[in-house]
Amino acid sequence: MSELPKRLERLFLKLDRAALAVEQHLSDLLFAIYGGNLADVESIIAADEEIDQREVEIERECIRLLALYQPAASDLRKICFAIKVNNDLERISDNCVSSAKMMRILIDDKISMNRFPKFRVLADSVVEAFRQTIRLISTDQEIQLAISIIKNDRSVVDKAYRDFLQSVFVEVEQFNNHVDAVYALTSIGRALERIGDLCTNIAEDTMFMLTGEIVRHSI
């Protein structure tokens, strides 16, 4: 019996911790968005560094395992999964950072996100999707859960994103002098929608890890 199973277990533990850190990042972002407090927003941007470090560390470990053990079958699929999910988590975090940067503009223009009830619907749907996705990484690696995340993204998150955009465009006249604010609002909406997409990617990668089938363009 090689050392690989133990090291894979430790790798997944690290991945799980990284996912929890990103979840915290997302939830802090929403807190900053609703609160409209510049200090909170700046702390989101600062927190990215730690997440980047985790990403690099996990990637190094994946490369080490590939080089040292030349894994095959489920071991190989697990490491491929870890590499991809690690990257997706980092991008989710990047989307949080870019949203935080856009919040600087909104705070500057004194525009509160609370005037858009549709934003909360979008944010809630993305937070829920990400929570389910974390279950995929840590505890419940199930095909059914993965499929429900993929379907949920299309039916709930995408719709919430469109509704939010519409609500921004309805009020666009009131932002006559703030083109940058409209840009910031739509960018934040887009960033959240991207986070939903990245959750879908993780769900698809989970299906690959479990079955060996690449389902990315077929579900």
Binding site: M1, S2, L4, P5, Y69, Q70, P71, A72, A73, S74, D75, L76, R77, T211, G212, E213
Partner: protein, 299 residues
């Protein structure tokens, strides 16, 4: 009667990769005694892939013990088939059965059928010399004859009646080129083969196996005694040869099987557990036993 040289001329003096097969197909295949007596089949390499080796519930017993147990599988032309499995799983026994090497071991008996190109090779009428000419074998350790490089390659053709020096020269050059050894030994063909390095000796053994124009090349862990550089050369060679020869390789090195083979068979306790495309076996095998073996959890 068409001589070896004339046939080589047909194929471009041995410079083309597609040497013809010397024998006729089907029933007459193994009664051919001399490689210079039969017209070449120039269309050989254009043929669509087909199953050249078919085993049907084939078993091999050493005394009462079944080393190979009811194995049914088909091996296609034009591809490399790897056989993997833990020690004692019957993979080498099965490989050696394909050219009846196990006949040399006392108290062996076989059951079921093992067909090579339409003919059951355990049929009593099969001529063993012809069979082994068509089904060549390369062993774990390089085993050149204690003769010159030239004589090693020419040994088989001479045995099969090729006497003309010019013909032999052509054969030696062609086979050494095909085994990617020509450039390294062309100046020293008369030196002892034992003076070559291990990797060169193994390529010499492959060239020697090619000299009798086999259809099938059996390789029993051909790289296990070689360093990584020599192993790389043999692997490249195997991939280059697969269009002309059906190659069956037994290997303990699973990365090697993954790198060079198109199909992989997993044997365990004498039985064929799983046989599928190599990509499938190494990324998502269907059988849990295969999974456990290739992830190193058993075996």
């Amino acid at each position: 009667m068409e001589t070896q040289k004339e046939i080589l001329k047909h194929t471009g003096g041995g410079l083309t990769l597609g040497l013809p097969s010397w024998q006729q197909s089907g029933e007459t295949a193994f009664v051919v005694k001399s490689i210079s007596t039969v017209s070449p089949d120039l269309s050989r390499n254009k043929k669509a892939r087909y199953s050249i080796i078919r085993s049907d519930k084939f078993s091999l017993y050493y005394g009462n013990k079944a080393a190979v147990n009811q194995v049914s599988m088909e091996i296609e032309t034009g591809c490399v088939t790897a056989i993997i499995g833990p020690s004692g799983c019957g993979k080498s026994s099965f490989l050696r059965s394909i050219n009846r090497m196990n006949d040399l071991i006392p108290n062996t008996r076989v059951d079921g059928s093992l067909v090579v190109d339409g003919r059951n090779i355990y049929d009593k009428r099969v001529d063993l010399v012809s069979l082994r000419r068509r089904v060549g074998m390369v062993f774990q350790r390089p085993n050149p004859f204690p003769k010159s490089v030239f004589d090693n390659i020419a040994y088989g053709p001479r045995l099969h009646g090729v006497r003309n020096r010019g013909d032999l020269n052509d054969i030696v050059e062609t086979c050494l080129k095909r085994a990617a050894l020509w450039d390294e030994v062309k100046e020293t063909l008369s030196r002892s083969a034992l003076a070559l390095s291990g990797g060169q000796q193994q390529r010499l053994c492959i060239a020697r196996a090619l000299a009798t124009q086999p259809d099938v090349l059996l390789m029993d862990e051909p790289c296990s005694a070689l360093d990584p550089i020599a192993t790389g050369k043999i692997e490249e060679l195997i991939v280059a040869l697969k269009e002309q020869y059906t190659i069956v390789i037994v290997t303990h090195n699973m990365q090697q099987a993954a790198r060079i083979s198109d199909r992989t068979a997993f044997f365990c306790l004498g039985e064929l557990i799983e046989y599928d495309d190599t990509n499938k076996i190494f990324t998502s095998p269907s059988n849990p036993q295969t999974e456990a073996y290739i992830t190193g959890r058993f075996g």
